[in-house]
């Protein structure tokens, strides 16, 4: 068997192996550790779970105003009535799925597609919609408006 030490290019060979192995090992371990360390840092946006979402902040809405926000994968509607009550409902019309809107002049929820009307509790009061809109619960946490699915759903 060849004596590796007698090889004329031995010192270079040795170095190459050392650099390759040492460097490769170091770099590859770094490339494993880098994602792990980034992973350990909690992201800026906290995970509230699928049943709850921050719809906005107090002051975002004027009385008799509304906004559309995302709840899960579907749009939802947040309404602030003139007397300071918050209502949150699904914004998906139960007729053909158009996005409904709040009508401040009528104090009711309206679907522009086929003139469906719902009251503030989501009950379908006129037009083609066959079912009421799903209602959500609203509560305030500090200055955040938190909308969550009704328990037991």
């Amino acid at each position: 068997m060849d004596n590796p030490d007698s090889h004329p290019h031995k010192p270079q060979r040795r170095r190459i192996v050392e650099i390759l192995l040492g460097g490769g090992l170091f770099a590859s371990v770094a490339s494993f550790l880098y994602p792990v360390l980034r992973y350990l840092v909690p992201p800026a946006v906290p995970n509230l779970g699928g049943d709850e979402v921050v719809a906005g902040k107090v002051g975002d809405l004027k009385p008799n105003g509304s906004k559309i926000f995302r709840f899960g994968t579907r749009p939802a509607l947040l309404i602030l009535t003139a007397d300071g009550e918050y209502h949150a409902l699904s914004a998906v019309c139960t007729h053909l799925g158009c996005t409904v809107q709040y009508r401040p002049d009528l104090h009711e929820i309206w679907c522009a597609c086929h003139n469906g009307m719902y009251d503030l509790k989501g009950r379908n009061v006129s037009g083609p919609p066959p079912r009421p809109l799903d209602q959500f619960q609203v509560h305030l946490r500090g200055d955040e408006i938190v909308v969550s699915r009704t328990r037991g759903a």
Binding site: R13, G23, G24, S28, R74, P75, T99, A112, H114
Partner: protein, 420 residues
């Protein structure tokens, strides 16, 4: 009175409730001997027990005598004697007033179903059918033609010939029969056209019972075509937004002056197809070029509206494809997808805004939509950029891994010599 059981004379009194209870159903059994013979006869005299059992009048306790007179308790020909008041077959021209005799009597109908309307006869006499019948034409529809006669089901019975899903077929029995309708000067293609329409699709295919059928626009008992100048009132019952915009548009006066039938001018009446963006503009399928010619203001507005809508549609499509690509590479883009739905809503709104027949409002809705697609396209591009970043990162780490593996291999060779 001493009612104690020991007093034998009054023991039978305890049986009285039982007797009455048993007697009840027996007494309530309506005797209708007519069907006994008539179920064995040949048509047109044949009426079976089973048929009549489905009839709403029979279910409410009425017998043949309610319409035909006679004595249903008799089991022989005496049942049909004049003295028993037998009327025989009711002639077609007599039918509406016969039915209306009960159905138009509010006090009478209240006993059976207080929420039923009682204006069917008064409506009927205003209808085309009613008017022609009054002139002696017995080919027109009378009550029994639509409702059936001896197995007349309630309107909300899915098998009734006047259940919403079945109405068009019932009307077509006459109105699609070219031979039968030869003496009248109206077309017979309504049913065929309706079956191609988006309303038929909504009602029969999708099962949306709020979708229109013949009677929704023509009325049922007072059936008559809506007047040319009032057709848009009928459409506006559901298509509120479009009607409101049309009222504000230059077409309102123009169509009125030209005697054109409002919405029907462009959309047709029976064969209302799902409108497409090709219906606007100057293309081959466009409605606009029926009146507008190259050079006039309407023509250029139509072209611009068409281009705007196509622009938004194309933008939505390309954004969708981008998001699709990102999704299939494992990127999560549900937020962007939700936003894209808003862009689709804008496109729907823009297509409705067309009915004001001015470029401004359409452009506005399109621009709103385009702002959204700008965002979603960016989100899609970001997702794909992330995908690229991941692959580059992978490539880099693979380089390091291969370097290490090579290093190990060389180390093995060094330790063991080249002949390992």
């Amino acid at each position: 009175m001493d009612m104690s059981p020991s007093n034998a004379r009054f023991r039978w009194l305890f049986l009285l409730p039982a007797i009455l209870w048993l007697a009840g159903p027996v007494c309530a059994q309506v005797v209708n001997n007519c069907v006994v013979c008539h179920s064995a006869l040949d048509p047109p005299y044949k009426v079976t027990e089973e048929q009549f059992a489905h009839d709403i009048h029979s279910q409410k306790g009425l017998t043949c005598a309610a319409c035909h007179g006679g004595d249903p308790t008799k089991a022989d020909m005496d049942a049909m004697s004049k003295s028993a008041g037998f009327r025989g077959k009711i002639t077609r021209s007599q039918i509406p007033s016969l039915c209306g005799g009960c159905h138009g009597d509010a006090a009478f109908m209240r006993k059976y179903n207080p929420s039923l309307r009682t204006d069917q006869l008064s409506q009927y006499v205003t209808s085309v059918h009613g008017k022609l019948l009054a002139k002696g034409d017995t080919k027109v529809a009378v009550c029994i033609d639509c409702h059936g006669v001896h197995d007349l089901r309630a309107v909300n019975d899915a098998q009734s010939s006047v259940y919403p899903l079945n109405i068009a077929k019932t009307c077509s029995r006459c109105h699609a029969d070219a031979e039968y309708m030869k003496s009248y000067s109206i077309p017979t293609d309504q049913f065929a056209k309706y079956n191609t329409s988006v309303h038929h699709d909504a009602l029969v295919v999708r099962g949306d019972l709020s979708a229109p059928t013949c009677t929704t626009c023509h009325g049922n008992h007072g059936a008559a075509p809506p007047g040319v100048s009032t057709v848009q009132n009928v459409c506006s019952n559901c298509h509120v937004f479009q009607a409101q915009l049309y009222e504000k548009s230059p077409h309102r006066k123009a169509f009125q002056d030209a005697g054109l039938p409002g919405c029907v001018t462009c959309h047709g009446n029976h064969g209302v197809l799902h409108p497409t963006d090709e219906n606007i503009g100057a293309g081959p399928k466009a409605f606009c070029t029926q009146c507008h010619v190259s050079g006039d203001a309407g023509y250029s507005a139509a072209e611009k509206m068409h281009d705007s809508l196509r622009q938004l549609e194309a933008s939505i499509k390309s954004s969708d494809q981008l998001l699709q690509k990102a999704e299939s590479s494992g990127m999560e883009v549900s937020e962007a997808r939700l936003e894209l739905d808003q862009a689709r809503d804008s496109l729907t709104k823009a297509r409705v805004s067309v009915h004001v027949f001015q470029l401004g409002p359409v452009e506005q809705d399109v621009q709103t939509g385009l702002k959204v697609t700008e965002k979603t396209t960016k989100a899609g591009k970001d997702a794909l950029a992330e995908r690229e970043f991941r692959r580059k990162g992978l490539a880099l780490s693979l380089v390091f891994i291969f370097a290490t593996v090579l290093g190990l291999y060389l180390l093995i060779r060094r330790i063991e010599g080249p002949s390992h």
